[in-house]
């Protein structure tokens, strides 16, 4: 076969296959009650509903407050604290770090450094070992993996360093010997918020799709559980289908294929905001318009909610407040005080009607112009 034919025949076939494309039909059957049918004041749990990884009851961040005398003691000691994150490449992570550093600085505690493991177990192990070598008084950390990093976290206590954890507890670590406290959002509550809003958008007997993180991780497991439990209790008519991803950059492809293979899915819950945004990207490409809810609030997800598009709501964490609680727990531990095994931070429901105010609550600053512009275009629904 001549080269030109060999090149052009399959190419022609391919072009012909794509050229017959037609705009895919949108599946817009969203009830008028969607979001509007939910009273913001009654949305979501009013207290911490989840339990800690070992079934602990939640303590409130208020129990970590320091008396003036204790605050003075902390200032006298000039403590040093290191931070080991799984990534710094998320609004969530940066707000946590800001909350921790602002609070520690207020009490004269020095942050020796912030290590970012970039989701790599071996790097986090090295980060923690290096931080131990700096002989800080405490380490605040979120484990990339709660099994593989456990032996390294045990070395922290052995070195006489106090450990405060975010969101997850490495396997086998005992409280209070090996860690002072674990602080996390009420992920179960956040899942319930996402479920309640999504249910308001679903017709009787409809099917929702859960875009779930297929890795066994406490905080993300709790979110999906929150959605499932709420639906089974309050909307047993709704059927649920689930697709798992393990590689976050592949969500757009996986969610798109899942929606193609399950055309009965009329609403989606994605386990955090970036997978939700990637799902939206796929939906836009395929001309699908179904309501989506998620957990966590970032600038882009806030803009999508403000626009009044498919992303209807999120059950937001309060990462800055969580960071403050982590710093407070650390200072309590450094003073030798008893600290609760699990401190839960209250959920925050975010919809189009309160997105600007919620942004201020979560980010502790005024919304940027991109968000206010999106909101102004969507007024009066967006306040």
């Amino acid at each position: 076969m001549k080269p030109i034919l060999r090149q052009t025949l399959p190419l022609t076939a391919l072009i012909a296959a794509t050229a017959i494309s037609i705009a895919p039909a949108a599946r817009a059957e969203v009830p008028a009650t969607c979001v509007k049918g939910v009273d913001l004041a009654t949305l979501g749990p009013k207290s911490i509903v989840g339990q800690g990884p070992h079934g602990e009851k939640a303590a409130s961040p208020e129990v970590l407050a320091l008396s003036d005398a204790d605050a003075a003691k902390v200032k006298e000691k000039h403590f040093k604290v290191g931070i080991s994150m799984q990534t710094v490449n998320l609004d969530w992570a940066q707000l946590q770090i800001q909350g921790i550093t602002d609070t520690l600085k207020k009490y004269g505690v020095t942050v020796t450094g912030v290590a970012s493991a970039e989701y790599q177990v071996d790097k986090q192990i090295a980060d923690i070992e290096n931080t131990i070598q700096q002989h800080p008084d405490g380490i605040i950390s979120i484990p990339v993996d709660f099994t593989a990093t456990a032996p390294t976290y045990k070395k922290v206590a052995k070195a006489g360093i106090k450990l405060v954890l975010m969101d997850s507890i490495p396997t086998g670590l005992k409280h209070p010997e090996e860690y002072a406290s674990m602080i996390s959002a009420d992920n179960l509550g956040n899942g319930q918020i996402a479920a309640q809003i999504l249910a308001s958008c679903m017709p009787q007997g409809g099917t929702i799709g859960l875009v779930n993180f297929g890795v066994d991780y406490f905080s993300t497991n709790e979110r999906t559980k929150g959605v499932r439990d709420w639906m089974q209790k309050n909307r047993p008519d709704i059927k649920m289908k689930q697709v798992d991803f393990t590689d976050p950059p592949k969500v757009s492809q996986i969610a798109g294929d899942f929606l193609t293979g399950n055309p009965d899915v009329k609403g989606v819950f994605a386990v955090w905001d970036q997978p939700a945004l990637d799902t939206l990207s796929s939906m836009r490409a395929q001309g699908i318009d179904v309501p989506v809810t998620t957990v966590d609030l970032g600038l882009q997800s806030a803009i999508e909610i403000a626009k009044g598009g498919p992303l209807k709501a999120t059950g937001s964490q309060r990462p800055y407040d969580q960071g403050v609680a982590e710093a407070m727990a650390m200072m309590n531990a450094l003073l030798g005080k008893e600290t609760p095994a699990w401190v839960g931070v209250q959920s925050l429901p975010v919809t189009q009607s309160n997105v600007l105010e919620s942004y201020k609550t979560v980010f502790k600053k005024e919304p940027p112009p991109e968000l206010t512009d999106a909101c102004n275009k969507a007024k009066p629904a967006c306040n």
Binding site: D257, T260, A285
Partner: protein, 330 residues
């Protein structure tokens, strides 16, 4: 009589030879035929297994999903034929996307400015890769391993790892969400990249020089080819195409993020090798590359439609890719 029958005998013999050669090629697993057969087998298997697979919408899904890998793989084909490798393409994409988004948010909210910044940044990274490889004689594996890290780091540094929001609707329509002659624009851009790639590689003196440089660099040099320039041009092309992929991705997601598509360079290299390109240079086809990319995309798509669990998908995908390369090996 003899004069009349001889050409017929020769013609018949030639046709027979051609048929026999084609059959031999197929049985031996000669590329690229086996590649197309492997693709068709996948289509048949998934069509019989999933009621949702065989539809125009789903083929468009596959087309859109393979866009990034396909576009960059066109450039990677040139690089690999020239006996080089470019590990920095995913990081170049991330940096180019950030450059495009920043240019639109800081300089002018014009899609032309964004596109120029994205393509220019990609081409610049490619140029640096090419110059370092050819002028300093550092192996491209090491050069691009370094630029992989540097480009990703720069992408993170410029906005302190935060995403940059894009608001230009025209940009979305041109690179991410519109249609051109009924074809979704990401697929249209893939076709553009591929057609340019085919013309450059198979119907242009530049393509012949790339093959010559990859096939035997010393002979190419002695025959008057500026091997350094040709190799550098292949890197520039790959970088620019990574820039184009960045425009498509950022327009689809309405933002540029520094942590996108980490590890995608492996998918790109897999697509090129699966498509018949030799890692030792001198051999490769743009269309083979495209089908290599489509095979990977079809596998990803089909396994999700079948509801295969995520870890099992990785196992099956890896096994099929290895088997496909083994069967299509000369």
């Amino acid at each position: 009589m003899t004069e009349l029958t001889a050409p017929n005998v020769v013609a018949a013999s030639t046709r027979s030879d051609r048929r026999r050669k084609l059959l031999q090629n197929l049985l031996r697993g000669e590329r690229p035929y086996m590649l197309y057969i492997a693709f068709v087998v996948l289509l048949v298997v998934f069509s019989l297994s999933s009621p949702w697979f065989l539809s125009v919408d789903n083929f468009l899904n596959i087309g859109r999903q393979t866009t990034l890998v396909s576009i960059i793989a066109v450039g990677m084909t040139f690089v690999i034929i020239a006996r080089q490798i470019d590990l920095s393409v995913a990081s170049t994409l991330a940096l180019s996307g950030m450059a495009a988004a920043l240019a639109m948010s800081q300089i002018s909210n014009s899609w032309i400015v964004g596109a120029a910044a994205g393509l220019g940044t990609g081409a610049l990274v490619g140029l640096l890769n090419g110059i370092l490889t050819t002028q300093l004689s550092i192996p491209s594996f090491l050069v691009t391993l370094g630029s992989l890290s540097m480009a990703r780091g720069l992408a993170m540094m410029v906005t302190n790892t935060k995403p940059v929001i894009i608001t230009n609707e025209t940009y979305f329509a041109i690179f991410g969400e519109g249609t051109f002659l009924g074809i979704p624009v990401p697929i249209a851009w893939t076709l553009v990249a591929m057609i340019v790639g085919i013309l450059l590689l198979h119907y242009n003196v530049f393509g012949r020089r790339i093959y010559a440089v990859g096939g035997n660099p010393t002979a190419a040099l002695y025959s008057g080819i500026n091997t350094k320039w040709v190799t550098t041009a292949a890197f520039v092309l790959t970088g620019a195409l990574a820039g184009l992929a960045a425009l498509v991705l950022s327009a689809r997601s309405h933002a540029a993020r520094p942590d996108v598509v980490q590890g995608m360079e492996l998918d790109v290299i897999a697509a090129v090798i699966l498509g018949g390109c030799s890692l030792f240079g001198g051999r490769g086809y743009i269309l083979g590359t495209l089908f290599g990319s489509l095979i990977i995309g079809t596998l990803n798509n089909g396994l999700v439609l079948l509801g295969v669990s995520s870890p099992m998908q990785l196992v099956i995908k890896g096994a099929i890719i290895v088997a496909a390369v083994a069967f299509t090996k000369r």
